[in-house]
Amino acid sequence: MAMPSSLLWAVDNFGRVYTLSTVGQYWELCKDPQLKFKRVSAAKQCCWGIACDDEVYTYVFSGDVPIRNQEETYENQRWNPVGGFCEKLLPSDRWQWSDVSGLKHQQLDEFTLPSPHWEWESDWYVDENFEGEPTEKGGWTYALDFPSTYTTDKKWNSYVRRRRWIRYRRYKSRDVWAKIIPDCYDVLQNCFNDISVGGWEITDEPLGHLSVWAVSLRGKVCYRENVCHHNPEGSTWSFITTPSEVVQISCGPCDLLWATLLEGQAIVREGIDRNNPQGISWSIVESPSFGNGIMHVSVGVDVVWCVTEDRKVWFRRGVNSHNPCGTSWIEMVGEMMMVTVGLNNQVWGIGRNDRAIYFREGVTPSELTGKTWKEIVSGRESDKSQTGSSTSLVSAGCFFTDDIQNQTNAVIQGDTDTSSDTELPSVPMNLANTPPMGAAASSSGNGTGNQTAEIHASFAVDPLDSDQGETTVASTSNEKANLEMHKSSTNPNPSAELHWTNVDLKEAQKHPVLSTSTFAETPILSSLGMFSEGAEEQDGADEHPQWAWVSGGGCLVHLHSPLKWFTVPSGLSSFMQSLSITPAQTAAWRKQIFQQLCGRIKRELENFEHYEQAIEQSVWVKTGTLQWWRNWKPYKWMDVRVTLEQFTGSDGMRDSILFIYYMHQEEKKYIHIFLNEVTVVVEVLDEGKHSFALYTPERTEQRWPIRLAASTEQEMHDWLSLLNMSCCESRRIQGPPSHHAIWSVTCKGDIFVSEPSPELEARPHLMPCDQMFWRQVGGHLQLIECNNRGVVWGIGDDHTAWVYTGGYGGGFIQGLGSSADNIYTQSDVKCLYIYENQRWNPVTGYSSRGLPTDRYMWSDASGRQECTKNNTKLPSPQWSWVSDWYIDFNTPGGTDEEGWQYAADFPASYHGYKSMKDFVRRRRWARKCKIVTTGPWLEVPPVTLWDISIIPSSDADDEEAVALWAISDKGDVLCRLGVTQQNPSGTSWLHVGADQPFISISIGAFYQVWGIARDGSAFYRGSVSSKKPAGDSWYHIPSPRKRKLKQVSVGRMSVFVLDINGNLWYREGITPDYPQGSTWDYVSNNICKISVGPLDQVWVIADKVQGRHSLSRGTVCHRTGVQPMRPKGLTWDYGIGGGWEHITVRGNAA
């Protein structure tokens, strides 16, 4: 399974473009090797560059989802008594072909492709769908007159009609360098010197926006208009005036933009925001170094690095979006030709003398300047023939401006210097601070001594190696003496300490021996000699690449990302030496150990089980102080003493009882729970307390769990982990969930899994679903889907797609309750929203002074709860803020320029423009927060998803592809190819064309695919099969009683849909010959989510369920009485809840 990766882009001194993956070890040559480049600037989804012809190119990665734009135009007709509806319109009418408003004349043949990089998907066709309903009348809609409200019904007074024609165009130049077609033919206007892309995270701008800035050969700054995901080339260049001639420019992912002037100063763009991506004005920042102007600048999210003409590197202190100029410069160690700041503020540079690429190690949010420069020594896989000669070094200069060419000479100068001196004075700290072998030995901060000397010294030590071995043995054979000392002194530490400091001293001497006496060091030594005259002598395989440019704008490196860039890939010979090259999981050695351990147990225990155990088993107890939500009025938290007693039965199994001791009317009392009766231990969404709940079947029925709270998160997790493990142990559940498991997700994003017993769906002795036992699996998701072959996918709050790895545990479940493998870091991001409310008054206009009866001026969506920027807390202590509060312009209903929505009064429906009748307005503020946890999940980049469905497969063929359909968060319908039981993440997405965005998808048995479009209409996809995974066409199915639908779920023969009001509908009349069915039949209300399984079993998340003690919202319910002749079932059986948000029973085919 692939780990999410991103790319570092670089240009070598021949103008060839290479990329290095964060999970790779080799530089890979970019396609299109004919084209030579001098500059590149990368973003995550594309890269822009300036080729040696000084023209601009863009390289858009191929994705599984096409870049497609819809063109539309309307055909208008008027009725006349002679010919009926015809093209003859009245003189006052609109054109026969127009846009939706009728104001713009647009004929079909007037639509042309914007550039050679586009192609038409098909010819023009009529849109048959009108407001979620099929028209079946050639797409015509009728009205009394233009402009008016149109209906699908032709009436006696319908005098006009119109229909919509649509056609899609698709961007085709992906995975190649596409030349940006010049605006005009003035050659110099279109010749560029530098380019920088960024701006994709300008606060709350439309998703997919990209700011592209360029510097022309004449030193003018240009901004590319309208570059976004759907228009990757943008439209035109507009010129931005600058105080003087600009040399180089750098645009960060957010709102930072710096450029350098010919005079050596930097200019900073002010006023960049959503409405002004080009910014408003420039400020000037002086060079940090007197007499040495700023030569190069690079900006990140909120950092600025620069290189001055003397090649010194500087970091700008105090930069943020309120103060883009920062406060002062700090000089950094090392000398660089250039630096580049990437995502996450990581930094790379090209060394002044060796022209190698260095990565700044240790850059963290708290230490933005990082620790050391570390050379990237990755080799180039594709390119072995190049020889690094000094002529090529000079030729590198031709890609730079005059300014830099001067410096190339300086480099050669430096070479001569270094050849006479082994210590490389010009990059002193690089090498001394970061021993290039550091990757193997990881010796950060390990002394700054003379590198060369150290190497020599280690050679000298080498012969002593064997001696040292002897010493070790000698010291350990003193063990006996040591033990004697333990005996005499009750405290064993003094002698023990002596013992191990001994070890440490040896380490200090031995370290260089170990690291230099091995194969991988050789290239490093030769790189030290790189600039000596004998450069050609070095091994051809270890040739040292020389770089001209690097861009980290698309490269995401986290603090603990395991990068393989810093060790030279081993040659074949050393590779063969290692015997453990097979993947660990399947390796023979592992199998052998499992088998032999089994054999050993058999051999040593089988005939001797009647022997007495040497150590008697005893009761083990954990106690602690927690708070308990007491079960009498007035309800409140009270301090209690809690004890978990664990027994071991004669069969070796453990059982546990949890006691809660409390005081009631000055009397000591307790309640107790047998853990083998507990059905779930679940964290409760509570911003103030670290609290969790325990349910038993009885308490589920009451809707009144035992609620406990700990004083710290750690303490709560200790208890949760222990209780979870004890519950699993008493039910003899261990290891990963089975393929039949039922998965669910709570409103907190916690994931629970339950093993279905055969009685769950088998009549006549149906097991009540409140008896199901749920155990937690690490991770954070908002939706989860599975099938009966163990393929499980999930979607996070940030719509990232995740695939289940087959592990268990993670999160707080550590140690023994967690698998050692298949647990990975998982993160999720969500937005919290608050509303700013205002009322209009005649004196001041809109203000935050409301009527006494009004809602809070800062509130939640309902207005009932006061929510201010300051009092809004993170959902739980596991979350942290990752942004400040910002205005949300994507609020449903639309907003004006400042984010306001207007209405006549609170509470009402809001619209995004102001009218005379509006007296109140509100706007939504958002703030992002992030959770980082662990679980058995791996990201499936790069498409973010809205919905997923996986086919329940009937045959037991492991190799067969599993059909998986999904909806991207933009509404594209997708079909995943290459999904098998062995490779559940699949290989690529196949885009399934649709005329409108979708919100729900479901694939049932026999490849029945149903979907719901965003307008609430239902569709059936025809002719889907294993041979034809995407099917052929959509059939529009009229909704039940014109209701807007929101979810569909398809089982074996049953199709259920859910409308936006929570009503559940069953599709009647589905037969193998007529899979679209005939009519909708009402089943139930009060439903939030539905999951229909491969047995046609029906499970839902119900909205409200009243228990004996309390009411729960978000409850798992099971439809009882479902039979082949009665697919709608009879009634609901209530299970675990509330707080549950999603369930999938699509694995349970047993």
Partner: protein
């Protein structure tokens, strides 16, 4: 798929069926019945033989009772070696139950350490753990632990509480994600055929080229005689916890999963039985 966690359990719950008999020359009041017990492989003889001691003391005259010691086929058994190691080293490939002779006289001062109380065992056990962590983490992990964590490790071993022990020991088995393993592997290699007690050297789990070192690499480095022989025929067995892992097994994995509770890999090199 079997999980690596199961290896930890199997290692922990390894038991050797043992028959204790009193040495014939010991003077008894009446005949001593043999005593049968399942000994935990990962524990120490003097820690788990209270029952044995009581059993034989009953038939002995009080004045004859002094410090207990054990012997197998003439070899005094070192209590400070884990039981599994003693068995693998001296009694592999013999018929079960393991037959141990119990002595109360003539303590072999030359061969054995005294063990007057469980404190001595605890001190030895903790010293081993600390030495192992010095090798693995420059002592950082063990020094960051609290006194009660140290106690929990010992109590876990003493009371055979797997979860209790591993709740703490887990931390000793971790390493920074940027490294691919421990700094050095704590191991000791014992040979039945030599006088030298054991071999212990500094050995890294990862080669400088990034490849994982294997058990074979370790033996090649520190004990080449164990895996090579003149005629190509394998004359020795490499035994850990009663099994022979393949030489291709990564040493880091072995250290994490098949170390004894003292955090050392105790490897026995014994002659291969001739059929």
């Amino acid at each position: 798929m079997t999980d690596d966690k199961d290896v930890l359990r199997d290692v922990w719950f390894g038991r050797i069926p043992t028959c204790f008999t009193l040495y014939q020359d010991e003077i008894t009041e009446r005949e001593a019945e043999p005593y049968y017990l399942l000994l935990p492989r990962i524990s120490y003889l003097t820690l788990v033989t209270d029952k044995v001691k009581k059993h034989f003391q009953k038939v002995m005259r009080q004045e004859e009772v002094s410090e207990i010691w054990f012997e197998y086929e003439g070899t005094p058994l070192k209590w400070h070696y884990p039981i599994g190691l003693l068995f693998d080293l001296h009694a592999s490939n013999t018929a079960l139950p393991w037959s141990i002779t119990v002595h109360f006289k003539n303590f072999p001062e030359k061969d054995l350490l005294h063990c007057h109380s469980k404190d001595v065992i605890e001190a030895h056990f903790m010293a081993c753990i600390k030495e192992a962590d010095a090798l693995k983490h420059k002592s950082q992990v063990i020094n960051e632990m609290q006194k009660k964590d140290h106690k929990q490790l010992w109590m876990g071993l003493q009371n055979d509480k797997f979860e209790q022990f591993w709740a703490i020991n887990r931390k000793l088995m971790e390493y920074p994600p940027e490294d691919s393993g421990f700094r050095y592997i704590p191991f000791r290699i014992y040979q039945a055929t030599t006088e030298r007690p054991f071999i212990q050297k500094l050995f890294r789990p990862i080669a400088s080229g990034g490849q994982l070192h294997t058990l074979g690499d370790l033996l090649k480095d520190v004990c080449p005689s164990a895996i090579t022989s003149e005629d190509g025929e394998q004359k020795t067995q490499v035994v850990i916890h009663g099994i022979e892992p393949m030489l291709e097994t990564p040493i880091q994995w072995l250290s994490e999963h098949m170390s004894y509770p003292d955090n050392f890999l105790h490897i026995s090199i014994i002659p291969r039985p001739t059929d």
